[in-house]
Assembly symmetry: C2
């Protein structure tokens, strides 16, 4: 979801905007995931200023490769919203957070 959102926002974003774009995402999980993605080489972390903190995350070349199939999945979800609703019965497979098929802001 973070990769997808980052991609939707043009390939880069600040943490605040990122978190506001994914409603159910807690600060802890976001930071943790950003660290993982950074560790994997999927995103870059740019520090512009220290005070006030001004950080920007951006997709790396490798990150853009991984965004491709994710975008296809999101597109598929849009095209098959009916199939997704057909699973509403059992909650265990569905995502509790709102899927950011469309990202605010």
């Amino acid at each position: 979801m973070i990769l997808h959102t980052l991609h939707l926002l043009g390939g880069y974003s600040r943490p605040g905007q990122l978190q506001r774009s994914i409603p159910g995402l807690s600060k802890k999980m976001m930071t943790q995931t950003l660290r993982e993605l950074e560790g994997k080489g999927l995103i870059n972390r740019h520090i512009h200023q220290i005070m006030p903190p001004n950080v920007e995350y951006s997709l790396t070349a490798l990150g853009k490769v991984f965004v491709e199939p994710i975008e296809q999945l999101y597109f598929w979800g849009i095209d098959h919203a009916d199939a997704l609703e057909a699973l509403a019965t059992n909650e265990r497979l569905t995502c509790t957070a709102q899927n950011p098929l469309e990202v605010a802001e």
Copy 2:
């Protein structure tokens, strides 16, 4: 992975074969997942005999819809094996079980 394997096996399979086809999968997780998929209407459960137990799971029409994007993901993984290996550093995002890109048997 179960949907993918079920699809690779022709759309139906018995539990034993299914579990043997996905090495890291425990009996508990397999049964649990099969129950969820059945509850969602993605697979059917057919009991042929009680003694000895002879059960067969098969993809439903809805299940076949969900197999599509999964297959695309697997194909993507095959085409981009190099990108996947590039993440080997950090383990937290990688799957512990062996990915059944190719299913035995």
